[in-house]
Symmetry: C2
Subunit: 149 residues, 2 copies
DNA sequence: TTTGCCGTTTACGTCCACGTCAACTATTTT
DNA sequence: AAAATAGTTGACGTGGACGTAAACGGCAAA
């Protein structure tokens, strides 16, 4: 039967593309995770037959998603942000709203930066204190050794 | 019956203390949340009868917990960190392990700082671009007005 | 005394972010 | 032809971080 489906021949009409497995390996996540992100409306790869095909844009979004996760954003939050970004290329109303949302995010990030710096300071303190204790112990051991000899 | 339970009279034997409700209000969380943290081994307030009594130390820990949460640490992680901190006042073995853990955390925070700065930069870019679009629209509106008049 | 108000434990429910099969298809390798 | 490899869609399970009653105790003001 002369099936008209020609899955392979098209040699990437424009730019680099990726399979789901490639992306999974590159970012050290499972394919399940990537499909889940699509389910939640965060990714929308094109299809070649039934297979998903990811372009540079999709890969960039995935990067953003993972970074967002490391910063504690929820998938829903990021979905909103992406949707806004995509639809904010016109009416002033939309643009103004988008600006306000960006400002919120900025506040969030500023708070987080403070948290991060405070935590970093305390961590360094603990570190230094811990080292002091160790050095003191070493000195005590040395002292004991000198006495014993 | 002369019950020997004297819940109130002891006027705070040392330093400030807090009830669970006070802390909940102060940090804008529910009492359920605070009890949950205790369940997970993150807090261990003393008791007056059956009531929980929180001291400055407990309050400080709660602050740490909430900050940790904002930075994406899990409760289990923080529990471990606290346990380590509490028990790392002796053997060199423990101290060395503690140092290594602190180093891990530091790596985490550094990664997060990079993520944060990158996100902040992109956010500012979006912000600026968005403002440009708005200003351009204003100019267009003004132009149209001048023509119409 | 009764009515709030704050506190307690126990237990089940929920939302999020996936993990884990299962059953199937399509291609490539042996 | 058989096996290995990569992909697909369900559907159910899970762990973390609480929410949400339910049922009770203790105390202070009305």
């Amino acid at each position: 039967m002369s099936t008209s489906t020609k899955p392979q021949p098209e040699q990437e009409p424009g730019g680099t593309t990726y399979t789901i497995g490639e992306l999974a390996r590159e970012f050290d996540i499972t394919t399940r995770t990537i499909r889940f992100y699509e389910d939640q409306g965060l990714l929308s790869p094109t299809r070649v037959g039934s297979r998903r095909l990811y372009r540079r844009r999709d890969r960039a979004r995935l990067k953003l998603i993972l970074r967002g996760k490391r910063l504690g954003f929820t998938l829903a939050e990021m979905r909103e942000a992406f949707d806004l970004y995509d639809e904010a290329h016109g009416e002033a109303q939309q643009l103004r709203y988008y600006l306000s949302v960006l400002d919120e995010k900025r506040q969030h990030l500023l708070q987080q930066r403070d948290d991060l710096e405070a935590t970093m300071r305390e961590l360094e303190q603990s570190y230094a204190h811990c080292q002091q204790l160790l050095e003191q112990q070493e000195r005590e051991r040395n002292g004991a050794q000198r006495i014993a000899s």
